[in-house]
């Protein structure tokens, strides 16, 4: 049997199997459970990596669930695909790889971080379920299925954010997130209903091939863009994000960052692959750009005044998501114009997607480092910290790398993707680039403050007994540091082999549709 063909299904089946097995394995004790947790996370990462290699080598992969053959998208002469189809193009594989790395790092980190608490079999179960939901959102080719996976990941994250249920703040954050994301997923259900009522199809590629802009389609587009922007934390709908990120156990926050990127992926997929040029007016692209600008500026403005380390980093997430929205919005704005697309549109999309990858890596690393500081000192307020670099040298170095990357200091990877976004948004209007630059400066200012207060300066007397965190936590951070440094040291390789294939796949609507509608074998 050719396992390569089954990689998309395995990518979902493995974490699901892990989620089901976790309570059973915890009967065998702590070691068995942890071994299973790590093995499943690592295998998922391997599958995601091989899937990404396969897609880059052989083009779009798709998988028909329950079909006579896994590649039979249009069985027995049907005009439209009827089964649930997973469609993995270079963009999906790129996002899935990014999510799987974050999931593995978070799992590794959680081994030590969570070890003193009870209820860990449920924790492992929900963690793997959240991974499965996130990967499902990234590789599904079916709009109703997308809704199902959003629900799977939302429900798993409610449980994980409120994991410390003895903390009222955690329960409140989880409740807030539950409200917001339930409203968001209902919007997606309504949009799927609109499209299904109009075309009798749920497959994204099939809808994309038949789409003609009308009232129903506009309604569906507004619901989809609104809810997915809400789920990825764009400015006016961002209030759940800092709470949820700050209150969740740190390993989970690392995964939640990747989950918000899955919503961003959904937004890009709907705008480019389902609607594409049919989107017609410039209204939706400008709306995405305005979301992006507002998120960037207000996110960072709210971040600079924070004292709580994880909350501060959470507000920076809002501002970083703005960059990706700006890049994607600019790309969508000029999608119908081949000359402008070649001039700066592709650059904008590449920058936006590359920033999504970079962001997931360094933001997850920042959260893990903040969690490590909390684990070692028991403090979250920046005012209570100081001089930790001497006590926790490894954490300090990794935090420094991540802060340099998020602030867009050259030569770090954040700089590369931000530069692409500055260049391309400048071509639309200089004001867009100015907002992006100002945001970057404020980000730098904010992280200089964090690093200075937490890691430098005189040692506090109460922190005399602080020691470096245990090895599994350092390993979790090291995984992400290696990725960040790899992207930093080989910028042209990572641009041409990681980001550009994904951007080309996103823009190539006919390729996405043709893989499914072009006939089975």
């Amino acid at each position: 049997m050719n396992w390569n063909e089954h990689l998309p299904a395995l990518l979902l089946a493995l974490p699901l199997l892990g989620a089901f097995l976790a309570p059973l394995c915890s009967l065998g004790g702590k070691t068995v459970r942890n071994a299973m947790f790590m093995a499943i996370s690592f295998l998922t990462l391997l599958v995601a990596f091989f899937l990404w290699r396969t897609v880059l080598a052989e083009g779009i992969q798709y998988y028909v669930m329950g079909g006579e053959g896994s590649r039979l998208s249009l069985p027995s002469g049907m005009a439209v695909p009827v089964r649930i189809i997973l469609e993995v193009d270079a963009l999906s594989a790129f996002m899935a790889l990014c999510g799987a790395i974050a999931s593995f790092a978070g799992a590794l980190f959680s081994l030590n971080y969570m070890s003193r608490f009870t209820g860990l079999s449920r924790f492992a179960s929900l963690y793997l379920l959240l991974t499965a939901g996130m990967l499902g959102m990234m590789i599904t080719g079916d709009i109703f299925n997308f809704f199902v996976f959003i629900e799977v990941s939302s429900i798993a994250s409610f449980g994980l954010i409120a994991f410390w249920r003895d903390r009222p703040a955690a329960v409140e954050a989880s409740f807030k997130y539950a409200l917001i994301s339930q409203v968001g997923s209902m919007f997606i259900l309504v949009a799927a209903g609109c499209l299904y009522g109009r075309y009798n199809m749920l497959n994204m590629a099939a809808i994309g091939s038949a789409l003609q802009m009308g009232t129903m389609e506009k309604l569906a587009l507004v619901f989809l863009v609104g809810s997915l922007a809400m789920k990825c934390g764009a400015f006016p709908m961002h209030m759940w994000l800092p709470d949820g990120y700050a209150e969740a156990p740190t390993g989970v926050t690392c995964l939640l960052v990747a989950v918000s990127q899955a919503s961003l992926y959904g937004l890009a997929r709907v705008c480019f692959s389902v609607y594409g040029i049919a989107i017609g007016s410039a209204f939706i692209p400008w709306m995405i750009i305005v979301f992006g600008l507002a998120s960037m500026f207000f996110g960072v403005a709210m971040a600079v005044v924070q004292h709580d380390m994880k909350r501060l980093i959470g507000y920076h997430s809002v501002s970083q998501v703005g960059y990706m929205l700006l890049g994607l919005g600019v790309g969508l704005l000029v999608l119908g114009d081949p000359r402008a697309m070649a001039e700066f549109g592709m650059t904008a999309v590449t920058g936006g997607l590359f920033h999504a990858f970079n962001y997931t890596m360094y933001k997850a690393l920042l959260f893990l480092a903040a969690g490590a500081v909390y684990y070692a000192t028991g403090k979250r307020d920046l005012n209570d910290m100081g001089g930790l670099a001497r006590k926790m040298p490894y954490t300090a170095v990794m935090f420094l790398i991540a802060s340099a990357a998020i602030s867009g200091l050259p030569p770090f990877n954040g700089f590369v993707s931000k530069l692409l976004i500055y260049e391309s948004s400048f071509a639309v209007h200089p004001f867009l680039a100015v907002v992006a630059l100002v945001t970057s400066v404020l980000t730098l200012a904010s992280f200089v403050k964090v690093f200075q207060t937490a890691f430098l300066g005189p040692e506090k007397g109460v922190l005399a007994g602080v020691r470096e965190v245990p090895p599994a936590m350092l390993a979790g951070m090291a995984v992400l540091t290696v990725v960040v440094l790899g992207l930093t040291l080989f910028p042209s390789w990572s641009l041409s082999n990681v980001a550009e294939p994904a951007a080309r796949a996103l823009v190539d609507q006919s390729g996405y549709i043709g893989a499914i509608m072009g006939g089975g074998m």
């Binding site: 089954h6 089901f20 079909g67 006579e68 896994s70 003193r116 009870t118 903390r167 955690a170």
Partner: protein, 162 residues
Amino acid sequence: MRPLSVVVRTGCDFFAWFMIVFGVNIVIHGYMTPGGGFQGGAIIATFLAFLLVAYGGKKVLSWVNEKIYEFLFEELGLICFFVLALLGIGNSFFYNFLASPLGAERTGIMSLISPAGTTVFMSIAVGIEVTGALSLVIIAMFRGIRQFAGPSLPEEEIGHDR
């Protein structure tokens, strides 16, 4: 919750069992009649709700072993479902490898299995899983009522602040 009168308890003794029979009926025929694994499982789980209402929490919770619901029902159902999906991987994940076309003759062991194939077994697996999960939900929600009376967390639990 205190136990209700002897009339209600006797009525419960008579009728609660029929909820299980009815639920199992819906689960088993779920592949071709209205209802299905989830709905049937939810009906079976009402058995526990009946007992809780009629006999009161103290007595019922001393009878119930949650581990049975968690491991025997939930885990068994989930793993059966997963294995059934995986067995079709020769063709594709979730492939219905036991199905046969309408009207085709089935011989030997296959004649015992419905032509719907794995759908029947998946429906049963979902029924078992939902029975376990919803019964646990009922127990957890019942414990939630009691939480305000006693200490806020069970003694053995280690949370963030304690």
